[in-house]
Symmetry: C2
Subunit: 146 residues, 2 copies
Amino acid sequence: MAFATKKGASAKLRSAAFKRVRADHSAELAEDYVEMIADLIDERGEARCTDLALRLGVANATVVKTMRRLQVAGLINQEPYRAIFLTSDGWKMAEDGRRRHALVEKFLLALGVTRETARIDSEGIEHHVSAETLKAMAKFLARNGG
Amino acid sequence: MAFATKKGASAKLRSAAFKRVRADHSAELAEDYVEMIADLIDERGEARCTDLALRLGVANATVVKTMRRLQVAGLINQEPYRAIFLTSDGWKMAEDGRRRHALVEKFLLALGVTRETARIDSEGIEHHVSAETLKAMAKFLARNGG
DNA sequence: TTGGAAGTTTAGCATTTGCTAAATTATTTG
DNA sequence: CAAATAATTTAGCAAATGCTAAACTTCCAA
């Protein structure tokens, strides 16, 4: 090591944040898919791969592959060539996501950004907001006409 | 298609947000690495793979591989077995990241979360905050003792 | 009831991002 | 200065996430 400075302890603390971000990313995609499946079921009675692909902006085959992973993860159920259903774990995740998403979006609106920006930014932000920060956002909303 | 509902136009709009998130993710890693290289150079005079690996919580070989990509992207310069230097593009990215990062972290603190949460959440959030939202955060800070 | 359009799946590929183990180079020290 | 220690690189692997093209089902309509 070129410069013998203290490290180790502080570095380990620091690295924890990055590890959390990396872990978030794996969960993130599952959450987005599951949330959208829930939306489709509510809006039109069933969720189909094609609709998912269209809304997420990915290819059909990508959705299919992801569905297999989600099934293995116990979040959805699907028979070949049939519509997609959420398991109870899936519904729980979807509803958690929706709640968080809605709150972040409302918060951004209350902060004064445009509707469009709130919609886009909340999509990226929602997965990285801890329970504590979420609570602080809720408190802010309560104070500022949520 | 099972239920003939309007789609297409609204779906394309919707999918844009997800596409932005996916695009953000590719940039995100580069930004984290570059920002940390800048920190190391400022703190201790040079940036070494080992220190990066320690702080980011990844294996050494992972850093090396990423360095090659960053070099191809024109963000860093490095001779074999030597320290890492930022190009001017690299410095620009690092400074952008630092500014955004610091602002988001201060904003979270002003919102009332603990120091630790602000540190961790800002790490994940900073990459998904648009210029407009950033400006709104700055305005909030100006009003609320930033 | 059957033929074609629409939807789904499979196969095969690429990239990113991580890992461990082994080989190589630099540095420090006895 | 040579041996030991530390740092770096290479090689080879794996998983996640994306793609296109081709094959297969399903379903509606003539």
